[in-house]
Symmetry: C2
Subunit: 328 residues, 2 copies
Amino acid sequence: MDQRTIKWGIMGCGGISGSFAKDLKLAEGAELTAVAARSQEKANRFAEQYGFARAYGSYEEFLNDADVEIVYVGTIHPLHKEQVLACLEAGKSVICEKPFTINAGEAEEIARVAREKKLFVMEAMWSRFLPPLVQTREWLAQGLIGDVQLVKADFGFDAGWNPEGRLLNKAQGGGALLDAGIYPVSFASMIYGAQPKNIMSSAHIGETGVDERFSLLFEYEGGRTAALGGAIRLNLQNDAYVYGTKGYIRIPNFLFAKEASLHVYGEDAVHIQDDRQFAGYKFEAEAAMACLRSGKLENDVIPLDETVGIMDTMDRIRRQWGLSYPTE
Amino acid sequence: MDQRTIKWGIMGCGGISGSFAKDLKLAEGAELTAVAARSQEKANRFAEQYGFARAYGSYEEFLNDADVEIVYVGTIHPLHKEQVLACLEAGKSVICEKPFTINAGEAEEIARVAREKKLFVMEAMWSRFLPPLVQTREWLAQGLIGDVQLVKADFGFDAGWNPEGRLLNKAQGGGALLDAGIYPVSFASMIYGAQPKNIMSSAHIGETGVDERFSLLFEYEGGRTAALGGAIRLNLQNDAYVYGTKGYIRIPNFLFAKEASLHVYGEDAVHIQDDRQFAGYKFEAEAAMACLRSGKLENDVIPLDETVGIMDTMDRIRRQWGLSYPTE
């Protein structure tokens, strides 16, 4: 197996980029080549903190760094489309934070350009690469819980009242659905391998005009359902359950999963534990590098068509609430 | 306090009546006076097994037993209305299994007659009287978790495929909503003290024409919601969660609750455990007797207007599914 090193760049030096960078250092064959921020000072500090070779105070200069092969885009969602397209124009592969874009139209545009340019692009849905989620897909593929009939997943946290902060700020793509909801919505998509036929939803839109919490009820073919929820001003138990005719799978704190259990009725429960001492972004980085090394342009675990489908589901939900963003 | 004994009768000698009778023996001041079934043999067996003084093979004879002061009605739901009204006609107080009736119209009729005749009537929503649920109401009344914004509760079990059995049989009032759904729907009603403003729902209607599983999304004033589910052919984790702005309450296996925990953010969790060695129907029997002794015609924990409101919510849900029963 070709284990050539892959030269990484990071666009955006905020919190999530830091978390990713910290894990990237642990990913086998990753070279920490360059970072970019809107200010040189911020970029310098980030590069020094996480061990990147070069720091740029402008995205243009960064994209002219011919060494960078793949870019992790960790900026706020409204900037994703423009920045991913700029990376592709510069001939670079991309993994882009979720939500991948503000809406499905933007995601489709990226998918189209990536295919035209034959460059690797992947939504940074890191949770899917965590060992308990990989194990969950294996249990499902083996049919151990029978036919899945109900999926439940929530992601809710209380970020406090900070109307100027990103989460509650409409101009910055704030709101619970885009920020937190992407996880349960993506989880349901992963389990069913499809987007919902019908969507029922409820949202509490707060003073800043974005959704602070929401509940979703998805219907799929064959009477299968998903009951999902999320919040940015309410802590929830962020566990996921997959209920089948023969048993169920439970994933505590599913998006950060360190464990999962398989409960087949009439048999002893099987529990798996991941004792990793790092956050877990390493796995998505390694998955992206494996694609680059083997010449694959998409990752089977989260292909672009599914990313577009998930964004379309998010659009359908927001239409029910009458919630749109300034860039739309 | 007047601790006079109360003479009990039981109508219907099926499984739930047996469970109730077993606990009734433990209830202070309860006298096991008479039971009735459609066959004398069945009534005799039941009376002997649970220690009742007299057994009747006809409901008419049973209702003529002047000693019986309060009747527990434990028959199938389609018979409730007629039988509760017959009890009231005979001058007897009643506690009637849930669902109280098939629909709100029937429940209203019972409430009207009970008030006319000044007789005590109560829905046998036994779970509300279990110590962990009593504690939950106290925690809520003290405002310990702040404003409640989301209630979650499921009750799902897999009763197998028995199309002739009561659960899947439309003529016998089968279906997941009436049989299992009454618990989460009633739980949400208890927490919010109101019926939902808007209801969204999904049901899987099976071959026998009744719902085998369902999901509900209730909206209340102020953006509060409840996400509920139930099934008669799918096992679920039957836990309830009440999420507030300052913390949450968790009640594992909520309808049979033996424990509950209070989680106020920033404080140590409080856990209460009920080590009872009996099912827990005793508490509702004692609550009913306390009302009889003090001359109250309804129990504040589950007053008739709320029972009617809950049945109306069930009606609204069934209308969304186009599900009606032969007696409607």
